[in-house]
Symmetry: C2
Subunit: 154 residues, 2 copies
DNA sequence: TGAAATATGATAATAATTATCATATAATAA
DNA sequence: TTATTATATGATAATTATTATCATATTTCA
């Protein structure tokens, strides 16, 4: 029943976004929903290929990319783009658009003085932290809204 | 004078960490300190190669890696490792060790209910956010502390 | 200064990701 | 349901970022 719900919700979410619902997408989404590890594309592929022998790694990559762009999943440590470096040790945060990938800096005193949870304790020695806000930049939001309207009209 | 300070501070920091102070490291560090963009390794290299014609891209990579491992700079979007994906939409944060790269999840109610700054306003539509705490895991901290003691003895 | 340690440059190798394109599947209209 | 159209897939080639290698050069420190 849990599985059923995930499938239904996923199917509905795909419809809303105008995405075809395919075996491969269902499989990848289910697999990712069933684990707490943060698997790589390769790992997802390895996990599924026994059950779906014709599945391609390229499809897994494309599927994950589609999911991420549609907000179904999140991508930790985006690759494919180059790593970016910063010598600015002033605490600052990032506004990252999930569609165009643009990164903007955000300075905010309150956000830079967060109290760290006690639970971290001696398990981890925190030196700094950074908040990544993910969503849509003004430009991509506009495009997104327009598409949504268009879909509702049809 | 500003430049002078940066050089002095950098040199001192290298000494503390037992790193050789080289032309290349100075150049890369100065370049990164002088910009607010978050350049890629390639971009740093392109910027410097006129002034330092013998500089190698491989050196820039190695230098940036060394800086990051020593906490001089930060690396946004770590690559070299695979991207990792997560279908868990429950707000959670990350504890990332800057030495061994291990990522652990952190759940904390307070950290997941942060008020967003007004300044963001209509410029960006935030859908979610994630805090990356960077520092040393227990194991790497131990090794780090031991090395420090050793260096002070010498 | 001179020996030992460390870093660099050139380049090869690797690993992750993306592009291409013919085929297959899904969505939609009749 | 079936035909048509749009979209996704699989196989594989190509690309891109990054790391490894190793001989040479530079730093460090006694």
């Amino acid at each position: 029943m849990r599985t059923k719900n995930i499938i239904d919700e996923f199917t509905e979410a795909c419809r809303e976004k105008g995405l075809s619902v395919t075996q491969q997408r269902l499989a990848v989404y289910q697999e990712l929903s069933a684990t707490e590890s943060h698997p790589t594309a390769e790992e997802v592929y390895e996990k599924l290929k026994t059950q779906y022998p014709t599945l391609s790694l390229a499809t897994v990559y494309k599927t994950l990319d589609t999911f991420e762009k549609n907000g179904f999943i999140s991508k930790t440590r985006a690759t494919g783009e180059s790593a970016r470096f910063d010598a600015n040790r002033m605490p600052h945060h990032h506004l990252i658009c999930r569609v165009c990938g643009k990164i903007e800096d955000l300075y905010d005193r309150a956000l830079s003085q967060l109290a760290l949870p006690d639970s971290v304790g001696s398990e981890f020695h925190v030196e700094e932290y950074q908040i990544d806000f993910r969503g849509l930049c003004r430009k991509c939001k506009k495009i997104n809204d327009e598409n949504h309207v268009k879909e509702e009209k049809v």
